[in-house]
């Protein structure tokens, strides 16, 4: 592969980048060719040393997405085999990614337990309220049917009841509409509580995945 082929292929794969980044990288590679040629290498040699354009483009996209996500050579917690019993190496740069020490971890979990004693029933009762509203809406919308049944069982027909049931249908529809955001809100509340809970239990190691 010569210089032109290499750059063309790279160009194709990198065109998804914002123009500024794209141009900077392309300039880097072009300069690399220029310096290599100056040092008496052939275009083919240089292209081979640079590597596969597709792989390089993938790498460029990956590097872009993994900014601030460092490769650490040690997870301090995993170092028991080289430093028995020591609270190994306070050397990771990101305090947030550091696993919590076991004592603190135990405390955090017991704290969560106490919190859950109140929070979980509370969340359930919120859910119950939302479900009740939904049932109320459904019944209100069905109220004409109930009036119909009432008539069918021979309790006579009262226009007031019929009008009242129409009124209830209106209220039911409004309640029903209100249910959707309530459901959504409760769902996201429950899920985020669950995820937060999981993170705490794992010791704030959400960066490792």
């Amino acid at each position: 592969m010569n210089k032109e082929q290499f750059l063309m292929e790279l160009q194709g794969h990198l065109s998804v980048l914002p123009p500024e980044e794209y141009h900077e990288l392309m300039e880097d590679y072009e300069a690399h060719f220029a310096f290599g040629l100056q040092n008496g290498k052939t275009e083919q040699e240089i292209a081979r040393e640079l590597g596969d354009p597709y792989e390089l483009a993938q790498e460029a996209l990956r590097e872009r997405n993994t900014e601030n996500e460092h490769v650490y050579w040690s997870n301090p917690a995993d170092y028991s085999f080289s430093q028995p019993s020591s609270q190994a190496t306070p050397l990771s740069g990101l305090p947030a990614a550091k696993p919590r020490r076991s004592a603190a971890q135990t405390l955090a979990v017991s704290g969560l337990f106490l919190l859950n004693l109140v929070a979980v029933p509370l969340i359930f009762s919120f859910w119950a309220v939302v479900v009740c509203i939904a049932i109320a809406a459904a019944v209100s919308i069905l109220s004409p049917v109930l009036v119909g049944l009432d008539y069918a069982f021979g309790n006579g027909f009262f226009p007031a009841k019929a009008y009242a049931s129409l009124f209830m249908v209106g209220i039911g529809i409004l309640l029903g509409l209100g249910c959707k955001p309530l459901f959504k809100g409760m769902l996201s509340l429950s899920l985020s509580y669950k995820n937060w809970h999981k993170r705490i239990v794992r010791g704030g190691q959400q960066n490792e995945s």
Partner: protein
């Protein structure tokens, strides 16, 4: 991500930081210096260098040369130096641990 990719990436980052710490260098020079010691796709350097700059570990400056395009030199910042030291220490701990483990295993 594939563990071997992680490995090479981490090693390359470490090599580059150490080389720039030694003295300011431009991309091609870095590629040559790295290739002297380890086999690597030299092209992977440029995305890596870009990231190091974005993260504030390096700065760049251009220097005209008598022939060829201007050279983009990379210079380590203070935070880059700290980062390098952390990585070097972790590398040493890690490789020492692995060597010990291998030694132990081969004695059996």
């Amino acid at each position: 991500m594939d563990i071997s990719v992680q490995f090479k990436k981490g090693a390359l980052e470490l090599c580059v930081l150490v080389l720039i710490h030694e003295q300011d260098r431009y991309g091609y020079e870095l590629a040559q210096s790295v290739s002297e010691h380890i086999e690597v796709a030299e092209g992977a350097l440029y995305p890596l260098l870009r990231r190091l700059v974005n993260e504030g570990y390096c700065t760049t400056y251009l220097q005209e040369s008598s022939e060829g395009p201007p050279r983009k030199y990379y210079k380590l910042t203070a935070s880059g130096e700290t980062h390098m030291k952390v990585l070097v220490r972790e590398w040493r701990l890690f490789t020492a641990g692995v060597s010990k483990l291998i030694e132990k295993g081969s004695r059996i």
